[in-house]
């Protein structure tokens, strides 16, 4: 038995080594670095909580926190609503529905950088397709958004772009919708429930675990938003799309202040942990699991 355990561990050893060397140790090292001044070319020098104190006083840090929270609060619920709406449409029994499911899922598999380049074009205030559509709808010129050139519209522009990937969530919702027992709808219908009541009181509770899952994953991903802003705006105009992770990246790899960036990473970890805990705790009242 002992040799079997040993053999088992030996077979797992590459994975264990990888986990320890490339995940656990760097994570612990970053905790240590967050307490150091570490300009990468010199060894880390212990400075206590100085990095955390500086964070609290850094205007740009708070600005990036505000931007990131705004982005999460807009993109996560909107992404879920659009994803669910798509799923309801894709759950219809019409011919060619598989083609539509593939089409809506497609943006999820397109690389983010390619997507970003495409969206810079779509969001061009003068020739972009989005504003061309608004103008075709006779929107007054003063209302047509300046998107990535306008500090008020750049963040909503990135939120709009994030909805492009709502098809990924929709696939999960379709699976969940198809799992809802038909008897429940029949029973509700016999009791006189209309379509909206059936949706509110049968569909939503039955797919609530999937909603919770996509919500939590969206929350975690939203707080870590980086690539779109890095490729499309570099944080501008006027820092309006300076997300937390972009500020962290700049601190670490442009200014080479690895200690400061590590402190930011740990604060982000605390924020995500707290946000996830709040959602999970409050979910017990709303999420129903099948017995």
């Amino acid at each position: 038995m002992k040799s079997r355990t040993f053999t088992g561990i030996a077979f797992c050893s590459p994975l264990i080594f990888g986990l320890v060397a490339f995940t656990i140790l760097p994570v612990l090292a970053s905790l240590w670095f967050s307490l150091c001044n570490y300009p990468i070319l010199d060894p880390p020098r212990f400075v206590g909580a100085a990095n955390y104190v500086e964070l609290a006083r850094d205007d740009r840090f708070w600005h990036s926190v505000r931007n990131t929270f705004t982005y999460v609060l807009l993109s996560v619920p909107l992404g879920m609503i659009v994803g669910l709406g798509l799923a309801l449409l894709l759950n219809q029994k019409v011919s060619g529905i598989k083609v539509f499911r593939t089409l809506f899922f497609l943006p999820t598999v397109v690389p983010l950088v390619a997507n970003s380049v495409l969206w810079v074009r779509l969001l061009n205030p003068q020739q972009g397709l989005v504003n061309t559509f608004f103008r075709a709808m006779h929107m007054p010129e003063a209302w047509v958004p300046g998107w990535l050139s306008d500090e008020h519209w750049a963040l909503p522009g990135l939120v709009l772009m994030s909805l492009w990937g709502a098809g990924g969530g929709a696939v999960l919702y379709v699976a969940a919708l198809q799992d809802v027992p038909k008897e429940l709808f029949e029973a509700a219908e016999l009791d006189g429930a209309g379509p909206s009541q059936r949706f509110r009181h049968v569909t939503i509770p039955m797919i609530s675990p999937v909603l919770l899952f996509t919500g939590v994953m969206g929350l975690i991903g939203g707080f870590q938003e980086f690539a779109r802003a890095f490729v499309m705006t570099k944080g501008g105009p006027w820092d309006s799309t300076l997300f937390y992770c972009l500020h962290l990246f700049n601190s670490a790899f442009t200014e080479f202040r690895l200690g400061y960036a590590s402190a930011m990473a740990w604060v982000l970890f605390a924020i995500i942990l707290a946000a996830t805990a709040i959602v999970m705790r409050s979910s017990s009242k709303h999420v129903q699991y099948e017995q």
Partner: protein, 470 residues
């Protein structure tokens, strides 16, 4: 097929005995490793390569053929040395690959470094001191364009040899668009008032208030670069060279002439709406769609390497090229010099063959010719014979004039990356937020000066430590 799951004990016992003797896992690993070593040892081993030098370059793929050519030329003229050149990105502030490699002790023998990075990288201890190799060689600092030489030294030590010299920038205008607007195509703006007047005539705004033709976008060169360009043209300076009281130089971001330059840009931004100007010029994908190349913008500041693009994307354009306009009390001719240099990372010994490569790249006839002809860049080696031809060229001759007259570089302070970032943000505050230029640039001066003091303290600590060790 054998399942990977464990078989029940009695079933396992029914398995046929293996014909090889039973060995523990450790025993099998030892035998396997020994066999591997034995086989490896029998294979022919490559001979030692004492004269291979590794070089990291930052250029895009379009310059690869020219780089391959220059390496081939070097190897032909230096039979004992092989060059392995590979790409390492450099965003003009940092080079992640290089810094991480230096920290890990695996940097290349030679690396390109941008002129504005040098003092900062030298102060951080990223580069090896080349003073000794330079003094032993037959190179002289007078052989290089002076601003570029300054950008290759820090506190009287040589940390790089200048390779390229970018005359920033030339003023280019579309003559057809001048004609259409009723302007004399042979008379470009000389002063900022001329420029304002012409931009006004050339710009066309449609009924909906959107720009359909633009005169010029003064801040098209990423934030800080525009500030350096116009700041110098207005007669200002963004730094003062080191003196006894300020051994690392002085930040002068809110020099009255620099403030004046930003005030002019702010006025321009208010008139044409900064958001509309930016959406017209910067939210563009693909060089061919650049408004100037597409005939939608009449004037722009151009880098020497863009002449090639102009010929490619607008082959029929009738254009003129000259000096950047400046106020009458400003600086004319004006311009500042940038460019790449070649250096050795700090954890590498300065190998004689590596220094020979640097010297050859920066000064040889072959290398500077390829640099000028195939890479469309100007050598930093002022004695290069290519200038005889370049100075007479109707287009590149203008760049030569800028190069020969320019006194400035961006700055020579070891906080350049931070300075550029802070200037860019101050410009956003002014152009987008309507903040007063003097206040925004004043804040830059205070912030960057603080950072400069911190660097000075760090350097002093390092020096004390080194002296104690000695």
């Amino acid at each position: 097929m054998v399942s990977l799951t464990y078989l029940p004990r009695n079933e396992a016992m029914r398995r046929p005995r293996p014909i090889y003797p039973r060995l523990s896992l450790v025993g099998r690993l030892v035998i396997g490793a020994s066999l591997g070593l034995l086989v490896g040892g029998c294979l022919p081993q490559p001979g030692p390569e004492p004269h291979v030098i590794t070089v990291w370059q930052p250029f895009d793929a379009s310059l690869q053929p020219a780089l391959d050519h220059v390496v081939a030329e070097f190897e032909r003229s230096h039979p004992g040395i092989k060059v392995r050149m590979s790409f390492a990105s450099n965003d003009l502030t940092s080079s992640q690959k290089l810094f991480l490699a230096i920290a890990g002790g695996v940097g290349p023998d030679v690396t390109f470094v941008d002129g504005q990075q040098l003092s900062e990288w030298a102060a951080r201890g990223a580069l090896a001191d080349l003073t000794e190799s330079f003094e032993k060689s037959d190179l002289k600092k007078e052989d290089f364009w002076i601003p570029r030489w300054k950008e290759s030294t820090f506190r009287n030590h040589v940390y790089a040899i200048p390779w390229g010299a970018d005359p920033n920038f030339a003023f280019v205008w579309n003559k057809d668009m001048f004609r259409k607007a009723g302007l004399d195509p042979e008379k470009p703006p000389r002063t900022i008032d001329d420029l304002d007047r012409m931009a006004d005539k050339l710009t066309v705004v449609d009924k909906q208030g959107n720009i359909s033709i633009l005169g010029i976008n003064p801040w098209e060169w990423e934030g800080a670069n525009s500030m350096f360009t116009w700041g110098y043209a207005f007669g200002g300076s963004l730094y003062k060279e080191p003196d006894q009281d300020h051994p690392l130089g002085t930040v002068t971001a809110d020099d009255p002439k620099v403030v004046e330059a930003l005030e002019w840009m702010a006025k321009f931004g208010r008139k044409y709406d900064v958001r509309k100007v930016n959406s017209f010029t910067t939210q563009v994908i693909g060089i061919g769609n650049d408004p100037f190349f597409a005939g939608k913008s009449a004037m722009r500041l151009m880098h020497v390497s863009q002449i090639k693009q102009l010929r490619k994307y607008a082959p029929t354009m009738d254009f003129g090229i000259g000096l950047i306009p400046a106020p009458l009390d400003g600086e004319y001719p004006n311009g500042w010099i940038g460019g790449w240099s070649l250096a050795v990372p700090r954890n590498k010994k300065v190998r004689p063959e590596a220094f020979e490569f640097i010297k050859w790249m920066c000064t040889s006839k072959e290398a500077t010719t390829i640099e000028a002809n195939e890479m469309e860049q100007f050598p930093a080696y002022a004695k290069s014979q290519v200038f005889e031809r370049l100075s007479k060229d109707p287009i590149r001759g203008v760049f030569y004039k800028i190069l020969a007259n320019a006194k400035h570089v961006r700055t020579l302070m070891p906080v350049q990356g931070y300075y550029m970032e802070r200037i860019g943000r101050a410009m956003d505050e002014v152009l987008y937020g309507g903040k007063a230029p003097a206040a925004a640039l004043g804040k830059v001066r205070v912030d960057v000066s603080k950072r400069l003091e911190a660097v000075a303290d760090d350097l002093a600590q390092h020096e004390n430590k080194e002296q104690k060790q000695k």
